[in-house]
Amino acid sequence: MRMTRKGAPVDDHAWAAFEAEALPHADQLFRVAMWFERNRQEAEDLVQDTMTQALQSFHRFQRGTNCRAWLMTILQHIRSNRRRSRFRSPLIEDPDDRIAETIPFVPPLPERLTDEDILGALGRIPPHLQEVIVMCDVEELSYKEIARTLAIPIGTVMSRLHRGRALLRQQLRPAADRRPKEIRGPHAMP
């Protein structure tokens, strides 16, 4: 029996289970961390801290549930703690309602878009909407898991998702308009 720094027991069996179940998600966690942090070193630190904390709390993980969602919850928790310590400013009110009013029209999705177009458009929408979109569409977390991860109500998850997608589509229109029809990117949508 081994003890981690916080004292949670990690025996060889638990370590083997963690290695098999949680560790394979490290790369995907890194992608999400990298997306939010925009800094390779910070993303690596974030993932390492996430996995360390996950290892220490692995006895609390319910086998058979979504391990990636569980890891994402830890990652978001660490992120929010870091943000809180980095910017000790009061939280502004949820801007979802204001954003909703600024989306008068959701244009149809352009036919040909590259990965850069999509990620560029995603990067231009507010971060709290990005979070929900990444978790729902990329990580395929359930509303409930997203709500738990971000510590927000499910209703807020749904509204952010709705507004985020609408904004994303709005952002994608100019990108498609700029590109001549005959030019197709390497990862153009079919």
Binding site: R2, R31, L109, I118, V134, L161, M189
Partner: protein, 323 residues
């Protein structure tokens, strides 16, 4: 279900968050509504495009060795407490040893302190009952006899200290030299006249189980204490405890000790010859018939049995004469 209602549910539909019944209703609506089908297809395409973009973006790719390094670091984190546990075991063992040794040393020193205190009390008792009140149950014997039977070092006291001892605060004169027993402990006893008071120099062997190779406790050594209204100063040679006691001022006793301690402890320490080591049982004296002749005084005392009281009287007389 109207188009607007269906489109409001598309996000949840794609996220598979709806009840089965609601899903069926949407599917039913989609089968007859090409506009909503197109909208849903577009949303699904966007969702899939996002997933692909995320998976393929090189900027978001971890270093190829990242996972392996992370695994090593996590394994280190798991194993570090184990190593720390081993270290802490060793530390705990070392701490236990240190505490044990410290406790043993404390007990030993406490034992020594108690022993020295008991010895000092015995010396004061001997002084009071032998030199002052002459009420010892056992009769004194000569130092020569005691040296022969108990401790050869006692013979040194026949010569040391000399008859007259010059100290910074006055002269001390030897009145009597003998060996006596008080409270089961044998002393070589030199009675001195000092500052018009009777002072005893008492030497006792430290071989009744206690080591004498260790310096006397600092609290005792060189520190004049008062026991039973007597000043006591103790010091130690290699095998003997030495006491100076009397109803004199502390400073006067220290002054006398300064002159006596050096030569006496050196002689006692260098004395290797030793008669059969006395045990507690053998330390009890046999009744003797003679006290040492103090040739320089020209006095001879003989104490066969009943003469003990006589000798005491003589000693008292001698002391008062010299006073």
């Amino acid at each position: 279900m109207q188009c607007r209602e269906v489109r409001d549910l598309f996000d949840s539909y794609l996220a598979q968050e709806l009840l089965t019944e609601t899903n069926h209703e949407i599917l039913r609506h989609l089968s007859g509504c090409p506009t909503c089908r197109a909208d849903l297809a577009e949303r699904r395409a966007l969702r899939e495009a996002l997933q692909r973009a995320f998976a393929r973006a090189r900027d978001l790719e971890p270093r190829s060795e990242f996972s392996a390094e992370l695994g090593v670091k996590l394994r280190d984190i798991v194993q570090a407490p184990l190593r720390r546990g081993l270290y802490s075991h060793w530390l705990a063992l070392a701490a236990t040893v240190v505490v044990g040794v410290g406790l043993a040393a404390t007990l030993w020193w406490a034992h020594q302190f108690m022993r020295d205190r008991d010895l000092a009390a015995a010396a004061v008792g001997d002084h009071r009952n032998c030199a002052l009140h002459f009420t010892l149950a056992e009769k004194p014997i000569s130092l020569a006899d005691a040296a022969q039977r108990y401790d050869a070092a006692y013979r040194i006291l026949e010569e040391l200290p000399p008859r007259e001892i010059l100290t910074p605060s006055g002269t001390a004169r030897v009145l009597e030299r003998h060996s006596c027993v008080y409270a089961g402990r044998r002393f070589a006893h030199v009675v001195l006249q000092y500052h018009e008071k009777v002072v005893s120099l008492l030497v006792t062997s430290g071989e009744d189980g206690a080591s004498t190779s260790v310096p006397l406790d600092a609290a005792l050594h060189g520190d004049v204490r008062r026991i039973d209204d007597m000043s006591v100063l103790s010091f130690r040679s290699a095998r003997h405890s030495i006491f100076l006691t009397g109803d004199v001022d502390r400073a006067e006793l220290s002054s006398l000790a300064e002159v006596l301690t050096g030569p006496l402890t050196r002689r006692l320490s260098s004395s290797q010859t030793h008669s059969s080591p006395p045990t507690f049982a053998t330390a009890y004296p046999r009744l003797t018939t003679a006290m040492p002749n103090d040739s320089q005084d020209g006095m001879a005392f003989t104490f066969p049995g009943p003469f003990w009281r006589k000798s005491s009287t003589a000693l008292r007389t001698k002391c008062s004469k010299s006073l």
